[in-house]
């Protein structure tokens, strides 16, 4: 088992290096730091001195990957590649283009993101499984047909509509909760309710349909026929045998997104003014802050790779047939 884990981790490292190289090429080779400076400082009427100053403040005045004039190990370490890309491996994100410490911002902002993302995941999962199982119970009837049609209709509605409609209906017409904002501690509950509800409802359509297919696939298997032959009632077959076996693909499918919950949801956080990592990223994109976007790309990929790792491990835990090769 331990050698398996070690091997999986060893496999993840080259991927992380690949991500790092891709971001480096995207952000520093395709466009030079001069171009970035020009975009940040204003289009054309900008002097070379101002550009040099902007670059020096952010450490972009170093050579890209090889510092020939420097001596010893500094040939390598005094470069943009080392200071801006290699350091990401140590989770040293450096400073944003506006001079703030990115690492500190991330550690502050991930909690509001989690406060939204975790309830959405848990409530959504429970609700989706319950409803999908009910639909699977009534398979082949009119209820099933119309439930699927409703699911397709719900999938076809833009996520933006759920947010805007929910804000308008609940926040503005009914005045039940504040439209946007955030608070610390227990006071944050009233700000979280609406985004969580909208997140859950928005995911129901595709979720129910997807889980329904998983349940239906299970229902056609041999052990279900055996269970029925034993004389078990249909509901006992469905809620005990089928549910247990169908939970394997469902839960292992959830594991991969668990680490990424830290990243938050871009659109939801932006609409509701939640100071999480999602709105942090959006702000950075709109302010064209390359340092933050770069850090978030790396962090997001890292968390996703951890998720893949956890998925592999969870398979070995829940399904003993998976051999550790």
């Amino acid at each position: 088992m331990i050698s398996y884990i070690v091997r999986r981790i060893a496999y993840a490292i080259p991927i992380l290096i690949g991500v790092n190289i891709i971001t480096f090429i995207l952000f520093f080779v395709v466009n030079s730091p001069d171009d970035m400076a020009r975009l940040q400082l204003g289009e054309r009427r900008v002097t070379q001195e101002a550009i040099d100053k902007w670059k020096a403040e952010r450490g972009y005045d170093r050579p890209l990957i090889w510092n020939a004039p420097a001596d010893g190990v500094k040939k390598f370490s005094e470069t943009i590649f080392f200071t801006n890309s290699i350091r990401l491996f140590m989770f040293d994100f450096g400073q944003s283009d506006s001079g703030r410490d990115i690492g500190y911002d991330i550690s502050q902002r991930m909690w509001p993101s989690l406060a939204i993302a975790v309830p959405v995941l848990v409530i959504g999962l429970l609700l989706t499984i319950t409803l999908a199982l009910t639909v699977a119970f009534f398979r082949g009837t009119y209820l099933d047909t119309w439930a699927v049609v409703l699911c397709v209709a719900m999938m076809s509605i833009s996520g933006l509509f759920y947010i805007i409609g929910g804000q308008y209906l609940v926040g503005k017409l009914l005045h039940l909760v504040p439209i946007s904002g955030f608070d610390s501690g227990i006071a944050s509950v009233k700000f979280i309710l609406l985004p969580v509800a909208i997140g859950v409802v928005g995911g129901l359509g595709s979720g129910i349909r997807w889980y329904r297919t998983i349940f239906l696939e299970e229902i056609n298997k041999d052990y279900v026929r055996t269970a029925r032959a034993k004389g078990l009632s249909e509901s006992a077959v469905l809620y005990v045998h089928v549910l247990r076996n169908a939970l394997i693909p469902i839960l292992t499918g959830v594991v991969v997104i668990l680490p990424s919950l830290f990243m938050g949801s871009l659109i939801t956080e932006a609409f509701f003014g939640i100071p999480g990592l999602g709105s942090y990223t959006i702000d950075a994109i709109q302010r064209q802050d390359f340092a933050i976007v770069r850090s978030m790309v790396f962090l997001g990929s890292f968390l996703y790779i951890i998720g893949l790792l956890l998925t592999d491990l969870s398979y070995t835990v829940v399904d003993p047939r998976v051999r550790l090769q």
């Binding site: 080259p14 991927i15 690949g18 991500v19 891709i22 971001t23 995207l26 952000f27 395709v30 466009n31 171009d35 970035m36 020009r38 975009l39 289009e43 397709v152 209709a153 999938m155 076809s156 509605i157 833009s158 996520g159 933006l160 509509f161 805007i164 804000q167 308008y168 239906l216 696939e217 056609n220 990424s260 990243m263 871009l266 659109i267 932006a270 990223t281 959006i282 994109i285 709109q286 064209q288 390359f290 976007v293 770069r294 978030m296 790309v297 997001g300 990929s301 996703y304 790779i305 893949l308």
Partner: protein, 469 residues
């Protein structure tokens, strides 16, 4: 007029040519014709296909761009002058709706502006009141006639549309009954009662509804703003219709971009195995581990930098917006080929162990021949399914991306841009809702139709699903 071809136009038309070639190819092969026949028998899918076809026609009309010829000025008749602004055939057809630009917001069917202005009366006095719109309901002599005027136009529109529809439907029926050697009357009754083969009744109802909608727009749009006007006074219905092209192009061109990567790499990884498989697997795992939105955002930021640097290379704003649309398709394509590639790799790995492929290898058939003759035709159903399934997701993604300002150019009509600009006005009192609603309704119709059609295609092409159900 002088025609001009933008990059996205050219690609869009070539894609349509490919689709036509596919139809021709598939119609001669029974194993391809059979699943499509199954799709054709599904009435929900055919209703969806009719709606999609209507959208497609609008998008095609909107993709034929040209510089209109200017009216000759006296004494300067030798040389033909062209306008500097590019318009499309669709713009030409909707004519007045495009030019009827108000000052600012106005509600649907309004004849007064949305906000008060200082108006100078005839006797020189000024009052603050809602001014009459320049175009919306301008033909009304008495403002109290508005509702009866609208009702009259609705009646004319609906009845006109039905007459035209009946005429066209009769021609089609006459042709079909002639081919089936039954009398016209028998065929018509049979189709109406649901006795005809295939979803004839659904098709009739769907086309009738579409005809009525077009008829209503034709009689109402030149005189009223059906969906109101936006901040700069443009007709919202016109904007929403123009956005169809943007949505369709993003949904289809993206697939065109990613298809070569996915098919080529997926098949080679699954077929050759070994180090080729390792490299390709590494490539797509790395790419897919970067969160899609962030990769798109980074690429869009870099595009911004590039466009600032090369600002002089773009002849016009439209050309610039067009290039940006193309770039967005390429970026979306690069981020979305990985899942299809993984699917194709798995399927190819299964296929290469199948007896007929082993036999081909034993006969000494070359790798390229095996791939072209045995692999590609046998994975095409997966490609087909993923093309139609991806489409609706891409249309929805466009709206979200435009909302974060990393989507299409802000000057280009798109549902995302409409939502983005309308969102700021939600806090207004009374609320400006029509722009938002129009964008969401149009998007919903397109995506719903695409989803329903995609489901039918998947059910027809996926042999695994047929066993389950």
């Amino acid at each position: 007029m002088r025609f001009t071809l933008f990059a996205t136009d050219a690609l869009f038309f070539s894609l349509i040519l490919v689709a036509v070639a596919y139809v021709f190819y598939a119609s001669r092969r029974e194993h391809l014709r059979a699943p499509w026949r199954r799709v054709a028998r599904n009435s929900l899918a055919m209703a969806a296909a009719t709606v999609l076809a209507t959208f497609l026609v609008i998008a095609i009309l909107d993709s034929i761009h040209f510089f209109p010829r200017l009216a000759a000025v006296d004494g300067d008749e030798g040389e033909i002058q062209y306008a500097s602004e590019v318009i499309s055939l669709f713009d030409l057809m909707v004519g007045p709706v495009r030019r009827q630009v108000e000052k600012t917001y106005s509600a649907p069917f309004a004849i007064y502006a949305f906000s008060k202005e200082t108006i100078e009366l005839e006797d020189g006095q000024t009052v603050r009141d809602y001014p009459r719109l320049v175009y919306g309901g301008a033909h009304l002599a008495d403002i109290h006639e508005r509702n009866s005027d609208i009702a009259k136009r609705i009646v004319i529109g609906v009845s006109g549309a039905l007459v035209v529809w009946l005429g066209l439907a009769s021609i089609v029926f006459f042709w079909i009954s002639h081919k089936a050697s039954i009398t016209f009357r028998v065929g018509f009754v049979r189709a109406l009662s649901g006795g005809a083969p295939g979803p004839a009744r659904t098709l009739m109802v769907t086309t009738a509804i579409i005809a009525v909608v077009i008829g209503l727009c034709a009689v109402l749009a030149p005189y009223y703003h059906i969906f109101g006007t936006d901040k700069v006074g443009t007709d919202v219905l016109y904007q929403a219709l123009k956005s169809i092209r943007t949505g369709l192009i993003i949904g289809t061109l993206t697939t065109l971009v990613m298809l070569p990567f996915a098919v080529l790499l997926g098949i080679s990884a699954g077929y050759f195995r070994g180090w080729i498989d390792d490299v390709i697997q590494y490539l797509y795992t790395t790419l897919s581990s970067i969160p899609g939105v962030l990769l798109i955002a980074s690429a869009a930021l870099l595009l911004d930098v590039y466009m600032t640097k090369h600002a002089d290379e773009f002849t016009s704003l439209v050309a610039r917006a067009d290039l940006r649309l193309l770039a967005l398709c390429v970026i979306l394509g690069i981020t979305s080929w990985t899942s299809l590639c993984r699917l194709l790799r798995g399927e190819t790995m299964k296929l290469r162990e199948v007896d007929f492929v082993e036999a081909a290898r034993a006969f000494g058939v070359r790798h390229t021949t095996i791939i072209l003759r045995h692999m590609v035709p046998n994975i095409m159903h997966i490609v087909m399914i993923s093309i139609v399934l991806d489409f609706s997701g891409l249309v929805l993604a466009e709206a979200v991306l435009s909302y974060i300002n990393i989507g299409v150019d802000p000057s280009m009509e798109s549902w995302g841009n409409m939502i983005n600009s309308a969102r700021l006005e939600l806090a207004r009192e009374p609320i400006v809702w029509w722009s938002l609603l129009a964008a969401l309704v149009f998007m919903f119709i397109l995506v719903l139709a695409a989803n329903l059609f995609a489901d039918a295609v998947r059910d027809a092409f996926d042999p695994r699903l047929r066993v389950i159900s």
